[in-house]
Symmetry: C3
Subunit: 150 residues, 3 copies
């Protein structure tokens, strides 16, 4: 069973390391701009780094959830590839947002699109599994036969 | 093994879609009330939508965690039903909070109660599995015998 | 398969209960210092409790993710022990932060260190599984033979 999950495990570990990197950047920004906890407001430079990290943290559980749902019910390989693209997009987003509010937009749209692909894979995987388990119908096979008849 | 999880997978996908819907509402509210990132303060109408989404995001990982713990160790069917009720409660909470701070309370209590039920199922499931695996005791069977004797 | 996970399930349930406890403390602090939602700013006493809970919530998904990755790919026993230490550290962090911003530091460093150990276990577990599955090499066995030869 672990064979079917080791790729997802690898992307998961990478994702956690990326979040750790973002958290360290917030700590550096707190020192640099002298914003001591519990304050979360300060110069825009600090607030951008803080919000970038907060946004990535907020999406992290959703990312991990769809990565595994898509990987388990649809395809480990495709999910792992999308996972790597998402983590790359988030890295660009964090760097862009740290420089300017405008700089966050392009990588934000990119990572949102990758997330939608993973949500699509998850939905499809759950639907196909549902039909196979409860209705005893293999939708992919049916589709193949239908295309053969055409 | 996937048969035992497809119901949980379906609720998970629904939950992710609900979070996506909430995130879009924050984007619309940012435009409507002209609150550009990284700012998170503004008119109360904006702050209510922002906090509603933040609160739902904060509870999302806890929800997914207990949904699956309860589903794997206790009962897939009962967990999936509770999961649907929770997502319904969160939808009502988001709508209520968007209108007034008061409007968030009733659905918040409802979804908190459903979450407690899922936590109870998780605890019970882990306890029953623990007794079966490590103490070789089937608590439900023992309970049944005890009731028979009475 | 559940035998290999019941320890992780137990730590997971404990972690959820701890988060529930933190959330209740924020509700009490809101009442005590009269900070009604959606406001999140107020006297420092309130803000410390609020930020303590927000920080624990932010790390909760990362904790659950590495707990299970480490437990599934490396060792359930070691992961469960680290998980308990982490939850203990977070409890001390919350109490310390509630009293003073300084009081949060020692337990924060402690729980961060435990988290790094779990990240290390996860990485090692994924690497060992990857080598076994895709390269057909058992790294631990190879290491043992190499040490035998010395």
């Amino acid at each position: 069973m672990l064979e079917q999950a080791v790729g997802l495990g690898a992307v998961t570990v990478l994702g956690v390391l990326e979040q750790a990197y973002f958290s360290l950047q917030v700590i550096y920004a707190r020192r640099k701009y002298s914003v001591s906890p519990p304050a979360t407001v300060g110069p825009p430079e600090f607030e951008r780094v803080f919000r970038a990290q907060a946004n990535c943290s907020e999406y992290f559980p959703i990312f991990i959830t769809v990565l595994w749902t898509s990987g388990v019910f649809f395809s480990q390989g495709l999910s792992a590839v999308c996972g790597l693209l998402y983590l790359y997009g988030r890295f660009q987003y964090f760097r862009g947002y740290s420089e300017s509010a405008q700089g966050r937009l392009a990588p934000l749209y990119f990572s949102a699109q990758v997330l939608w692909v993973l949500i699509g894979f998850s939905s499809l995987g759950v639907l196909l599994t549902f039909c196979r388990v409860y209705l005893n119908v293999d939708l992919l096979l049916e589709l193949g036969s239908a295309l053969d008849l055409v």
